[in-house]
Symmetry: C2
Subunit: 353 residues, 2 copies
């Protein structure tokens, strides 16, 4: 299907596959780690207030939003770069800090996009196996030369690496860049943003997609030293200076200002997660210790694939990965309490058959 003109360098390109979004029926969608809650009312109002002014370009520097995000994180505006989702800042990091001489290094089980970013940027990568229990062993990275990408909490396991271990990873070799992808940090993880002032080789990325209920708005960011942010900003201004639209920029400000709503939603997701986890364990599941808005679980009596298909048949979507080490598991996003009740009772029915 590719054209004869497509650059040879992409001949083996295997693009990322997003979670399925079937339209043929209504599903309970527990497959793409979306929030079950709408965005903050303040975010909605602010986004809507600008629609009549869309004839004007957005501020390419995103000054207001950057200020609000930086204040919220306790860093300076010069330490933050906003992007069109956190995928964009991750790609910028691959562009800026990986090349023919500097490979990318990440776990064998993690966000599937890292491998694709390496491919599209024509750089080598090394996958480091997680331990048998799916935890990351920082010792395995200490001696490696290259740019390290760690999702923390990791996906699809949900397992969190303590801040002390992140600091050990970052501090040990300060001649290489370490990217900590904190897409899921607000559900019980510890952020490494507090280390940015201390380590000029650290980049922390976060997103508005999960904990801030803004997956549809596309907003993410990186936090790092002033010099790193200057590098990444040069890449932004060399690819897509107006990468964030005006509505999303204002929605982002609204979301940050509405602190209580954010805190309450994160709390509700964590409570639903713990309830669901306990129910699944009672049903005989092995459930990893997740600090994210999803659970990763397997059952001794039904294969991962079969459970995924049976749930889909009954109108519930979860995410199954074919990869050998994790093919007995499913990743289950945490929805509303009612959705999780339906999930548990549906799984009960499936297991009883």
């Amino acid at each position: 299907m590719m054209s004869k003109f497509f650059s040879e360098k992409f001949k083996d390109l295997a693009p990322y596959t997003p979670g399925e979004q079937p339209k043929e029926r209504e599903y309970i969608k527990l497959n793409t780690n979306e929030s079950p809650f709408p965005p903050s009312k303040k975010a909605i109002e602010m986004a809507n207030s600008v629609a009549s002014k869309l004839n004007l370009y957005p501020d390419p520097d995103c000054k207001e939003l950057t200020k609000v995000v930086a204040e919220n994180l306790g860093v300076k505006a010069e330490n933050v770069l906003l992007t069109n989702g956190s995928d964009e800042i991750l790609n910028f990091a691959f562009m800026a800090y990986c090349d023919k001489k500097t490979k990318a290094i990440f776990p064998d089980i993690t966000y599937g996009f890292y491998k694709v970013f390496a491919q599209i940027n024509g750089v080598d990568y090394e996958e480091i196996p997680l331990r048998e229990d799916f935890t990351i062993s920082v010792d395995d990275y200490i001696e490696k030369e290259g740019t390290v990408f760690i999702a923390n909490p990791n996906a699809p396991t949900g397992i969190n690496l303590p801040l002390s271990e992140i600091e050990r990873l970052v501090s040990n070799n300060q001649n290489r860049i370490v990217i900590i992808d904190e897409a899921y940090v607000d559900f019980g993880g510890q952020s490494a943003v507090c280390l940015v002032d201390k380590y000029p080789n650290l980049i922390v990325t976060q997103t508005f997609s999960k904990s801030r209920s803004m997956a549809g708005a596309r907003l993410g960011y990186g936090v790092a030293s002033k010099e790193i942010i200057a590098d990444l900003t040069a890449i932004k201004y060399s690819t897509n200076p107006y990468n964030i639209n005006s509505m999303t920029a204002l929605a982002g400000i609204g979301s940050i200002l509405d602190k209580d709503y954010f805190i309450n939603n994160c709390k509700a997701v964590c409570e639903n997660r713990e309830w669901t986890k306990n129910q699944l364990i009672e049903l005989g599941f092995t459930v990893l210790d997740s600090k994210a808005n999803f659970l990763f679980a397997k059952h001794p009596k039904i294969s991962g694939k079969d459970l995924y298909l049976s749930l889909k048949d009954k109108g519930i979507l979860v995410r199954h990965f074919d990869k050998d080490r994790i093919k007995e598991y499913n990743r289950i996003s945490i929805g509303s309490f009612e959705q999780m009740q339906t999930l548990v009772s549906t799984i009960k029915d499936i297991l009883e058959k």
Copy 2:
């Protein structure tokens, strides 16, 4: 300011400079080719209708919007790829069709971003001088090997190349890709979209930023053969699959559906342009024959830079480029009739001093 970690390949990177957006006072902004009219009410309504559902990811395939855009252009959905502004599809084209073996070719006077796209993608480029009268000579491109980028109408001149000349450029060497960047086509140009079915080496790019008053929403697209669109889609899914947010996707549909509003706005801009052009000629300006939403003009008695500075001092922003061949000119975006009246009377005052 760059970090010591920044990949060597970017050591000479010179990012694009967007038009200035000073905040210290209110200007009549005639410097970034924005529309003076708000987006269609239907676009605003549709964008606002989805803000409360932003917790869900957008459809990464943009199926509905793609269908509507394709229908409007008279092509199939498989011939269209939507992007986060047309800068993104242009960058995708540089990624896909330029490499160490295939350079980029474009005029010496054109959209300043092409050079930056070449640099960020690490590919060579050749700039072909415009003729003395600032028109593009297709003959200069006929023998060249490489991927050709032509803005039509061209920027910042506004000059339009007839469709027959575009076809000659595309048809003559069908072993190379030709990209026609039609950001300004709706103000009197002729689109090459009608040639896409005939020439599998043609890509036409368009944007919602100018004629559809949606610069703040970030929406553009490419039109090409099914195979070319497959290439570019592979790049999208390897960099940022959810590149278009839900609000913008719906605003785009609303804009296309509201045909009359679009047509009337384009007509008003063209009328204001012709009025302004005549006024400037009466004042002694040389004004190029623009088919875009801007004019490119110089005056024998005042340098381009001085006119730019005098206008800025009086609260009117136009765009001045330092490049030698065009430094006596200014690019003046077409605003509302009232804005153009103010522009003309302000220039009169400046010239009288």
